[in-house]
Amino acid sequence: MQSDTFAPLLIGGLVAAAIVAGLMVTGGPIAARAEKRDMARLADLRELQSFVACRYDLDDAVPNTLATDERCADKLPMADPVTDAPYVYEKTSATSYRLCARFERPELVEDYDLGPGQWQRDSGCFLLTQK
């Protein structure tokens, strides 16, 4: 084969293979959209987390339920913006609680996505402790 047809074929083949592999790793547009929805869920959980932290500062204990409290926040995101499934809040002790949501790509969620939380991939929950 001549070099001026071989080299472009080689480049094209290598680049195409790299693109396919890259798409397999990052996920296509659909998976990326799911990732965006997960980002929105994380933003909601962060809001809930700061609400709980605010209540803890005022009452010296995490609240029993996530009822709106005008001292800390006017409005809380109580449910998933896409599926409308309510976020799960569970008090586990006076200083610790769990916040859960149903993520579509839980493999991409990390501990540091919710401050000092501990991410549990199987249940879709963060374990949080107030100090």
Partner: protein, 212 residues
């Protein structure tokens, strides 16, 4: 004196000596000048009756050529750069280093940029390169285009800078405790892409010299 200056001077002298355009054309063709170069040299002088050759106004460089080769070589540089970046992300993803924490979504985003760059610039480069190869086959004089040489070397410069930077990053990783399979694979990727780019340009140069 540059070859093109010699050609212009010869043409002027020959016209001043009263040689016909056909004679000049055949003398230049027999000396190895390409048809478009001969035509250009003769077109530089107006065909009017005057004791000395009268120059025609000439554009300084061909804007069309500059556009064409500019896009082609930028596409080559972008392809080389982002191919290295994408392969490095893939190596990071597949060859886990137990001591390094994953970069999570941040790594995904840079991978997506590389994919987008390759989707745009690789086909652009391949199409333009194909057209260049066909054009130079039909007319070997095109290889002597000054515009092409300049853009070629500017690209070679940019590609060298980017690949040297990659090499630097890889060596930094080596020195800061990353002597792993990852490091070796990444170094191989940089060497492979750099080698291909330089081989491409050497072939260009070689064929350019061949066409002289």
């Amino acid at each position: 004196m540059r070859p093109s200056d010699q050609l212009a001077e010869f043409t002027r002298d020959a016209l001043a000596a009263g040689k016909s355009r056909d004679d000049i054309r055949s003398a230049l063709s027999r000396s190895g000048w390409a048809p478009n170069e001969v035509a250009e040299a003769l077109d530089a002088w107006a065909e009017i009756d005057f004791p000395t050759p009268v120059p025609r106004p000439r554009p300084y460089v061909s804007a069309r050529e500059a556009f064409f080769y500019g896009i082609m070589f930028v596409a080559l540089a972008m392809t080389a750069w982002h191919l290295v970046a994408l392969l490095h992300s893939l190596i990071d993803h597949w060859v886990a280093d137990p001591l390094v924490e994953g970069e999570g979504r941040y790594a995904l985003n840079s991978t997506r940029w590389s994919i987008a760059a390759l989707v745009v610039f690789t086909p652009t480069f391949l199409v333009l390169n194909r057209r260049t190869v066909q054009a130079t086959k039909a007319d070997p004089g095109k290889r002597r285009s000054g515009v092409r040489k300049w853009f070629g070397y500017v690209t070679l410069f940019l590609a060298s800078i980017s690949l040297l930077g990659d090499l630097m990053a890889v060596i930094y990783a080596l020195l800061s405790g990353d002597l792993t399979l990852r490091f070796i694979l990444k170094a191989l990727v940089v060497a492979g892409v750099a080698g291909s780019v330089f081989a491409y340009f050497r072939q260009e140069e070689y064929e350019g010299a061949d066409a002289k």
